[in-house]
Amino acid sequence: MELMIAILVTVVGAATPILIAALGELVVERSGVLNLGVEGMMLIGAIAGFVVQFHTGNPYLALLCGAAAGMAASLIFGFLTLSLSANQTATGLALTIFGTGFSALAGSSYSARPVTLMQPLFPAELATHPIAKVIFGYSFPIYFSFIMVVAIWYFLHRTRAGLILRAVGENDQSAHSIGYSVIGVRYLAVMFGGAMAGIAGACFPLLLTPQWAERMTAGRGWIAVALVVFASWKPFRLLAGAYLFGLVMTMELYAKAGGGPLSVIPSELWAALPYLATVVVLVLISLRRDASTNAPACLGKPFLPAN
């Protein structure tokens, strides 16, 4: 029982950054933009969050600065792809290369310096019973991720602004002709995605490993992008997908800790498992008929008004 709950809490921790980043990317893709720079924006958010946490010890400020840094990075992408109609795939890759270099440079004097992990949101007395711990034992970003799943679903499917955003992603020419600013909507979506990726990145030093390490997001941003496909652009499916990956990564942790039946398999295979699982998940999803038809029709295409 104790072990089950410990595993569950670890799964939630591992899944949260992927979920937050993927939610941001889901909104971006729903607006018709494919930003492959999630990994880079996460790394920029991670170093911003780390530096702020290191100097102020205020994790909320760290998350906020992570969001701001991720958003700033997303504006580079937005400017190139939306204002200058640059190739989205290549620009996203460039953003990831940039984020990797930027975070390594900014973090070069911080390696191996510890920060304090973010404390649980609720008082410890509430989380003494094992079952209560599953509900009240987490820090703020975990509750934030749940709220965002619901909020983004509500925004996309129950609000007028969400309808406009989806219209822009499905048919940019029509949206443009009835007077909506396609580029404006896409800028806002890209900035939101950047902020979410930045928060997701800041979660790494705040929730998972309380120190700075180069490339500490280790491809989680790419898994987030893949999860959006897996979820066929639906927020609640994203929640399920992120927890599936949280489980796979937790198994890796337990296998590395040694002992038990998990360590029969080489630890390197466990470490490779989240990436291999991503490939398998992409294959499985492609076998479903409706998967590809759910993609926003204008995804990845630059918008050029027909006049």
Partner: protein, 360 residues
């Protein structure tokens, strides 16, 4: 004063070749400003990263051996990207190529014979091809996006290195180091200039790029790649199968990434070590774009990126610039290049206010 973008009747060839040069120049200027602002010697950084490797003849051999893998991988990627096939897992194909070559070197350890190196090269190219065929198969059979699969396989291949050199391929005399034994003489790439570290891979890179240029401009294969990439509908109408083109693009780019991997392990490394993933596969993406997806351009772009690598190391020792600065300069180059692409299709026009419009 206002500016407006006006569509050109046809893409500007001048801009096609001028923008990469401008991108490098702008990177140097903006790089100097940014690095000064964050407290480094900005002008010094640009001088050390971009000029010292060229003016210091001792660094030329480093340039050659750093440029070779970038040119080989970049050539393959430029062919794939021309066909609109987004293989971004070249790093993984490079790693599997290196591992396949290592496998042959370890199997033939202690043997002599001229055939060992060619066999390693063959194994490396087949290894890279095999690894690239996974995203190709998934894309053509199941319509799975090759960007994500090729990249995920890269992360997995890194773990494969760690596993092999920690367990089955570990050097028995290695006092605990996770690495393979040093290759025997017959499995090492010979140097071509006595007294230097310039190995056979450098001329091979040039030959590969020139052959690729010839094929891309003069053969049906090249025509197919370009047509499928530029106008997929016309290509289908013209009888070029899209699936076959995806396969060709992935296999060629995978084989070349694998070739770079085996040349790297038999040349500079001479054994498989944990540091073998050198990021060449990712940097080659920049090389391909900076070279305008043209194999001859890739030769120049490969040298430019090699300069930043070598210069980055120089700047690290001389002015204490962290190694990561190289990556920022490389990414900036790509940003500027992509931003400049708009000038190929559009021209910037000054908007002159109309004097007649209700001026009275």
């Amino acid at each position: 004063m206002q500016f407006r973008l006006e569509k050109r009747r046809e893409p500007s060839r001048v801009m096609l070749y001028a923008t990469p040069v401008a991108a490098v120049a702008l990177t140097m200027i903006l790089g100097a400003i940014i690095f000064s602002l964050i407290g480094y010697d900005g002008i010094g950084a640009v001088r050390e990263i971009f000029l010292t490797p060229l003016t210091n003849s001792y660094k030329w051999q480093d340039l050659g051996i750093k440029a070779a893998p970038l040119i080989i991988i970049g050539t393959g990627l430029s062919i794939a990207y021309r066909a609109n096939v987004w293989n971004i897992g070249a790093e993984g194909q490079y790693i599997i190529g290196g591992l396949a070559g290592t496998g042959v070197a370890l199997l033939t350890w202690g043997m002599t014979g001229w055939w060992i190196l060619p066999l390693m090269v063959l194994a490396g190219m087949l290894g890279g091809m095999a690894y690239a065929s996974i995203p190709a198969l998934l894309r053509t059979r199941l319509n799975v996006n090759e960007i994500l699969t090729s990249l995920m396989l890269t992360y997995a291949s890194v773990q494969l290195i760690y596993y092999l050199i920690r367990a089955p391929w570990k050097d028995p005399m290695g006092i605990g180091f996770p690495q393979t034994r040093l290759f025997s003489e017959a499995a090492r790439l010979p140097t071509i200039i006595p007294g230097t570290i310039v190995h056979l891979g450098v001329p091979i890179a040039i030959v590969v790029a020139v052959i690729a240029w010839f094929i891309m401009t003069r053969s049906v294969f090249g025509y197919r790649m370009r047509v499928v990439g530029a106008a997929p509908h016309a290509a289908r109408y013209g009888g070029f199968s899209e699936h076959k083109t995806i396969w060709l693009a992935m296999l060629v780019s995978g084989a070349l990434a694998g070739l770079a991997g085996v040349l790297e392990v038999a040349g500079p490394f001479q054994r498989m070590v944990p540091g073998f993933p050198t990021n060449y596969g990712f940097t080659a993406i920049i090389v391909a774009f900076l070279g305008r997806l043209n194999p001859l351009g890739v030769i120049v772009a490969g040298v430019v990126l090699a300069i930043t690598f070598v210069g980055g190391e120089v700047a690290q020792t001389t002015i204490g610039l962290p190694n990561a600065a190289t990556g920022i300069f490389q990414a900036m180059m790509l940003f500027f290049l992509l931003a400049g692409d708009i000038l190929i299709k559009y021209r910037v026009r000054r908007v002159v206010p109309q004097a007649s419009a209700g001026a009275a």
